[in-house]
């Protein structure tokens, strides 16, 4: 059985990739995908600790997060499509409406 540290490093790697993607990429679809990566990093963490402590609650949480991610993706893609129809763009640095 692999020690817990392996899982945590994998999870950390995924999380960092996701964060870098969110912070640096311009295309919001990529950003969305990066968010999915972050969520999955969390999932790995939860599942790993669940296995370590023999507590099934972590796996249940992971399932909730997957469902939540799906819903979030649906809503986010809807917003992006609506936004694209209005502004003809999906680039994050052109989306400064929040300022107003």
């Amino acid at each position: 059985m692999l020690p817990i540290a392996h899982y945590l490093f994998l999870s950390l790697a995924l999380f960092i990739i996701g964060v870098i993607g969110v912070v640096t990429r311009r295309n919001v679809i990529v950003v969305l995908m990066s968010i999915e990566l972050i969520l999955n990093a969390v999932n790995i963490n939860l599942v790993a600790f669940s296995r370590l402590y023999g507590d099934v609650a972590g796996q249940v949480f992971a399932l909730f997060i997957i469902a939540d991610a799906a819903a979030e993706a649906a809503v986010a893609l809807g917003i992006i499509i609506a936004f694209f129809r209005n502004r003809e763009t999906v680039l994050a640095d052109e989306m400064d409406l929040l300022k107003w």
Binding site: V22, T24, R26, K99
Partner: protein, 707 residues
């Protein structure tokens, strides 16, 4: 027996007929044909005349001392309890009521009779004029007002008629309102009359507060119903011996009322409107400014004789004003060249005679002269109208002449009227004028002398007028000359009727000294006997028969002298009038320019009134508007400017300062707000790292605990 009958019960119909047609004319007259207008308007006055004759004859059926018919239609003004000068409060009432006694009998017959003839005449005279319906509407309205004036049973209702005739006079003088002089003359008449009316209404008020009633008499009203009248109140005062207390008030009342009479009856100093009133159509001059309206003042003074006889001062004033007006106006008539102007001054002069009669206590003589004067002066004016009609509108005596055979009816009736006014027996003017002069002589030979000279002047200027207009050679223009024609029968028939009246009108007052029995005076006796103590016997005793004959002879001879002089001047041409005028050019100019009275009034009153207006106007513009209104405006603006600066710089300034500070301090914060979520995510990350770095060991402790 008390007078009764259909006509007496329907007195109110007499003024109603002309009122109805006047309303019809003024509302719908434009759509009526001239024939309809003539029939309605002349017919209504004719109907009034018939009703008047009926009422008078029913009144005459009663005993002489019971000849009063009074009828109250309704209570008109009931202003509640009125505080009297004596201190007690009484119930004051002004009725809408009619009074027919011998005095109003004379007036109502003169007004409706002469009025009817003049209406008939107007059909011919005004036939070619525009505004035919308007003319007759005003004339009928005048008849209504005049009948209200003479039939009213109290002073306030009389005042309604008084103002009504003034209004109609104004409307009819200004009938040709497109002519500036005509509308000016109308205004002048109206304004001058206002001065008199102010006195009249003050007199009425003084009567009301002093005597507690403005009804002329209570006779003819049901006994015991609490009706009072001026005469009855004065009689009660005499019986209780309090006449002396109210005597000064009576003088004040009499003088105030006389101011009204001066205005309406064109006496000095308010006579100036009457000569100008000749701008109106000639029938108007005949009806309003000779026969009826201008005699309203005489009627009013006679009506108030009970008050006047208590005040010798007022009587003296009336007599002096009358006689001075008589000679003053006659002197102006001597030289006038406008045919209507001569007649206007003659009217003023004759009205002066009437006031002389009233002033010396001969009320009956004054009313008698009023009646005869109505006949012959209406005839003179209508004759003059006929002459003007024939001469295509020419009024200048210098451009007439030789009309005697060209317009025979007019000329002969005019001559009758001229003889009547000159006082040649047995025409109407002789009796009335002689009676006045006789009474004046009894009172004061000086009054008589002035009246006597005036009689000579009257004869002179009237015959001058007659000779200039109808005799000699014609001085008219050629095309006017060709056009001369006698007037239509509608005009000549009234002339003939009036000529007959001018001859026989005086016979009802045939004096006792000439074998008559002075029926006129006896008829009026019940109304005009004062409430004093003098009895009829005493009055009769003061007459001296021989004196009366002498006076008559003298006055006829001075009339003859006047006529002779006029004949020498203008018919026989033995004396050239120009020569006499040239001898005293200043006197001649003074008379011709009517003593410059209009100019003096203009300078002394009209211009000063205008100056006062200008002064008040500039006071208004500079002080009220300038200092008051503009100053207040300036102050308000100044205050609001101050307030605006406070608002703008202090209140708003503080707000703006706060906002500016906020803006300034928010600058760095604003830099963080890029609106781009990636930078927000970056910030979240940085924050997370910072938090973790700070609280890292706590996390370690936490994790260790879990393990």
């Amino acid at each position: 027996m008390t007078p009764t009958g259909y006509f007496l019960d329907h007195l109110w119909l007499i003024p109603l007929f002309p009122l109805a047609t006047a309303a019809l004319m003024l509302l719908f007259g434009r759509r009526l044909p001239n024939t309809g207008v003539s029939l309605l308007c002349v017919g209504s006055v004719g109907l009034s005349f018939i009703y008047s004759v009926g009422a008078v004859s029913q009144l005459l059926a009663a005993d002489p001392e019971r000849r009063v018919a009074q009828q109250i239609l309704f209570e008109w003004l009931t202003p509640g309890p009125m505080q009297m000068t004596a201190g007690n409060a009484i119930r004051f009432v002004a009725d809408w009521g009619f009074l027919l006694d011998p005095l109003s009998c004379v007036m109502v017959l003169v007004v409706t009779g002469v009025g009817f003839l003049i209406h008939v005449y107007s059909v011919g005279y005004m036939g070619h004029e525009g505004g035919y319906y308007r003319f007759f509407g005003y004339m009928n309205l005048f008849m209504f007002a005049m009948l209200m004036l003479v039939l009213a049973n109290n002073m306030l209702l009389m005042f309604v008629g008084w103002e009504g005739v003034g209004l109609c006079s104004y409307l009819l003088i200004g009938f040709y309102f497109l002519k500036k002089s005509a509308s000016d003359a109308g205004k002048k008449a109206f304004i001058v009359n206002r001065i008199g009316d102010a006195g009249f209404i003050l007199g009425i008020l003084l009567v009301a507060v002093t005597l507690g009633t403005i009804r002329f008499t209570a006779v003819g009203l049901p006994d015991g119903a609490g009706y009072s009248g001026i005469r009855q109140v004065l009689e009660a005062a005499r019986d209780s011996g309090t006449l002396g207390i109210i005597a000064p008030t009576m003088t004040a009342i009499a003088l105030l009322l006389f101011v009204g009479a001066i205005g309406k009856s064109a006496q000095i100093p308010l006579y100036v409107w009457l000569p100008d009133a000749m701008e109106g159509p000639t029938p108007v001059s005949a009806l309003i400014h000779a026969a009826t309206m201008v005699t309203a003042g005489v009627y009013m003074v006679a009506r108030m004789n009970a008050v006047y006889q208590l005040s010798p001062t007022a009587m003296t004033v009336v007599a002096i004003v009358g006689v001075v007006t008589a000679i003053f106006a006659a002197s102006m008539a001597l030289v006038q060249n406008d045919i209507k102007k001569v007649l206007a001054y003659s009217t003023i002069s004759q009205l002066g005679y009437m006031f002389l009669a009233l002033g010396v206590g001969a009320f009956a003589a004054g009313i008698f002269h009023l009646m005869t004067h109505a006949f012959f002066k209406a005839l003179l004016f209508l004759g003059a109208g006929s002459v003007i009609h024939a001469m295509s509108g020419e009024q200048d005596l210098q451009k007439m002449g030789g009309l005697w055979n060209k317009i025979p009816t007019t000329a002969r009736t005019f001559a009758v009227a001229t003889l009547a006014i000159a006082g040649i027996p047995p025409l109407a003017g002789f009796f009335s004028k002689d009676e006045i002069l006789g009474h004046a002589f009894e009172k004061s030979p000086l009054l008589w002398l002035v009246g006597f000279i005036t009689a000579g002047m009257t004869a002179f200027y009237m015959f001058r007028l007659l000779f200039l207009a109808f005799f000699g050679y014609s001085r008219a223009d050629e095309h006017v000359e060709k056009h001369i024609h006698e007037s239509p029968p509608t005009m000549t028939v009234p002339l003939m009727v009036l000529a007959v009246l001018s001859v026989i009108g005086g016979w009802i007052g045939w004096p006792g000294s000439l074998g008559g029995n002075a029926r006129f005076e006896k008829f009026l006796e019940p109304v005009l006997s004062g409430i004093g103590t003098q009895t009829a016997a005493e009055k009769a005793a003061s007459h001296s028969l021989a004196m009366e004959y002498i006076l008559m002879l003298v006055s006829v001879s001075i009339a003859g002298a006047g006529i002779w002089l006029a004949y020498q001047f203008y018919r026989a041409k033995r004396i050239a009038p120009e020569l006499v005028a040239g001898r005293w050019p200043k006197v001649y100019q003074l008379l011709l320019q009517e003593y410059y009275v209009d100019e003096i009034y203009d300078a002394a009153i009209v211009e000063r009134t205008k100056d006062l207006g200008t002064l008040l106007g500039s006071f208004d513009a500079n002080v009220i508007d300038g200092v008051g209104v503009d100053g207040a405006g300036w102050l308000a603006r100044f205050a609001s400017t101050l307030s605006m600066w406070w608002d703008k710089w202090i209140i708003d300034g503080l707000l703006n300062f706060g906002a500016k500070m906020m803006q300034l301090f928010s600058y760095p914060v604003r830099l963080l707000q890029t609106g781009m979520f990636s930078s927000y995510a970056m910030l979240i990350l940085v924050g997370l790292v910072v938090l973790l770095a700070y609280y890292g060991h706590h996390v370690q402790v936490l994790l260790r605990g879990v393990r």
